[in-house]
């Protein structure tokens, strides 16, 4: 009897520190956030209960829907770019894996991942500067008349997505390269002996075996795409107009510039529900429970 309780206490002690942080700073805030979203908050801290009004305000606010659409547009462009470029780079690196220079090439593709978002935003803002950005100058030298990407509503989000892909693809490249290395050499040998063409090998053997890694990268990237914030703030601040105002930026502005904390908390809840939904669906998809 005492041993049973002793065991329970012991296990509790192992788990408690982690659980405490998780409850205080992960679960708690979600519940607290829900609570906050039901009130109208005075900037000085007084609160007035208004029930679901914040959510109604969101539903009726074209600016909220604009932010949602912009976020989806960003995700739709950035995710294939990040995962796709990562995959292509991984294939290159894997193909050249026998050579020493390849480790350096891989390092080069990976390095931007270690930069902070501010640096990435600043670099690309400078590259795409309307007057002196070298990308625009180079394009003009090549005879193309480029749009001023960061100042065009149709180009702002794609430009930010491209910068994000440059930043993050390197990490996916490593994941895929590792997955490619996990494929036993016999597969490649067998295919080569059979005289199968490269394309056939790729599509019928390699790609299916990479499926778990690709799916995992897709889920991770999609979720981080939904909360994109830093690059947008630094590169366009949501502009031109509202063309690149994404959900996180909308949340931030309502919370800290207009001091509508309740409504901002409601946006946080909406984001939470979307991401939770995506998480549960992808767990089913990726079969996470079976790996337990």
């Amino acid at each position: 009897m005492r041993r049973r309780y002793g065991r329970i206490v012991e296990i509790a002690l192992f788990i408690l520190p982690f659980a405490a942080f998780w409850i205080l700073f992960r679960l708690g805030p979600v519940l607290y956030g829900f609570f906050i979203s039901l009130y109208r908050w005075d900037p000085l801290g007084d609160a007035k209960f208004i029930g679901a009004r914040n959510y109604l305000n969101l539903a009726r606010d074209p600016r909220f829907w604009n932010a949602l659409v912009n976020t989806l547009e960003f995700a739709a462009i950035a995710i294939p770019l990040i995962v796709g470029i990562g995959l292509v780079l991984a294939l290159f690196i894997f193909a050249g894996r026998k050579r020493r220079v390849t480790t350096w090439l891989e390092a080069g593709f990976f390095f931007p991942y270690l930069l902070t978002v501010s640096v990435v935003g600043l670099i690309w803002r400078w590259l795409l500067d309307p007057d002196f950005g070298i990308v625009l100058i180079a394009l003009r030298d090549m005879g193309i008349d480029p749009p001023v990407f960061l100042n065009e509503p149709r180009w702002a989000i794609p430009a930010i997505a491209l910068a994000t892909a440059w930043w993050l693809a390197g990490y996916r490249m490593l994941l895929f390269r590792a997955a490619l290395e996990d494929i036993p050499d016999e597969f490649y040998e067998a295919a080569r002996i059979d005289g199968a063409s490269g394309a056939l090998v790729f599509f019928s053997i390699v790609l299916p075996l990479l499926r778990p890694a690709i799916l995992f990268a897709l889920v991770l990237t999609t979720i981080s795409g939904f909360i994109v914030f830093g690059q947008v703030l630094i590169m366009t601040a949501g502009g031109p107009g509202r063309a690149s105002e994404v959900l996180a930026l909308y949340l931030y502005r309502f919370g800290f510039e207009y001091l509508e904390m309740g409504q901002a908390a409601a946006v946080g809840m909406v984001l939470f529900l979307i991401i939770l939904g995506m998480t549960l669906v992808s767990f089913r998809w990726l079969g996470f429970e079976s790996s337990l």
Partner: protein, 281 residues
């Protein structure tokens, strides 16, 4: 941007040298923006805006660097980032190691269910909680302090997930042998499991440190005075003040990148290995 369809297994046909050359050119193009940032940071203002642009600065100057260092607490920002990232990493490891052990090597009722609950929150980012966290930290009078920034980053399930995956693959016989010798769980963890889990710990440390170092949204909200900014937030403040002066902005960005670059050149192998380790089965 078109997706290149290249099939690597036909490398033999393409000519391996050509392939490497193409990839090398691509890699150079890939890191060119970083080089451009460095050169801009040491060019005097008129040269920055000169057309046609010059790749090698004709009259390099440290004026912008001086401007950043003298007018802003840049070194303090770096220190703040080190403190925040360090505290996050150390505390994360400290709480994740025993928890992951309990979830993997011990059997108890409700273990998998509770783990699933923790896991389900793994992909939920910090950003959705900024408003309640702000309220919370305000109540606790912790706004604009280090704990406000690093505390919310510690209960992240990625740690227990990673470590548990690794622990599961450690043979159970080692535990049994130790138990026969009379070791309790704690000693097993300390003497048997931990020494074997260096690769996983390394991967976790790299992940958490990078994550905390680069955290932006919450840090921006929690920190209000320039003395307390972490590096990403400080750079943004630089932009807010100098959105007209690319020399200063690029110099600041370059200074922020330099330590990362140095570290990467030295530890490139370990860092990459650490990350790919999490990807290998």
């Amino acid at each position: 941007m078109a997706r290149l369809r290249v099939v690597p297994v036909t490398a033999a046909r393409l000519g391996p040298r050509l392939l490497v050359a193409v990839v090398a050119a691509l890699a150079l193009l890939w890191v060119a923006p970083i080089a451009w940032m460095f050169t801009t940071g040491i060019k005097p203002a008129p040269e920055i805006f000169a057309l046609p642009p010059t790749w090698i600065p004709q009259r390099p100057t440290l004026d912008h660097v001086h401007e950043v260092l003298s007018r802003w607490p840049f070194l303090r920002w770096t220190l703040n980032s080190v403190v925040v990232a360090g505290a996050t990493t150390v505390l994360s490891v400290l709480v994740s190691v025993p928890a992951a052990y309990a979830f993997s090597r011990l059997r108890w009722r409700g273990r998998d269910a509770i783990f699933l609950v923790f896991l389900s929150s793994m992909l939920i980012p910090l950003e959705v909680n900024v408003i309640p966290l702000y309220f919370l930290m305000n109540r606790l009078h912790l706004l604009n302090t280090y704990p406000a920034v690093f505390l919310p980053m510690i209960g992240m399930p990625i740690g227990i997930f990673l470590l548990r995956q690794f622990y599961i693959n450690i043979p159970g016989e080692l535990d049994d042998a130790a138990r026969v010798d009379g070791c309790g769980n704690l000693r097993i963890l300390w003497h048997v499991i931990l020494p074997l889990s260096r690769p996983a710990l390394a991967a976790l440390v790299i992940y958490m440190f990078t994550f905390a170092w680069n955290e932006f949204f919450w840090s921006m909200i929690a920190l209000s005075s320039p003395q307390m900014f972490t590096l990403p937030i400080g750079l943004r403040a630089l932009q807010g003040a100098y959105d007209i002066d690319y020399g200063v902005l690029m110099a600041g960005a370059a200074m922020a990148v330099l330590p990362t670059l140095m570290l990467f050149l030295f530890l490139r192998g370990s860092i990459i290995r650490g990350i790919t380790m999490t990807a290998h089965k």
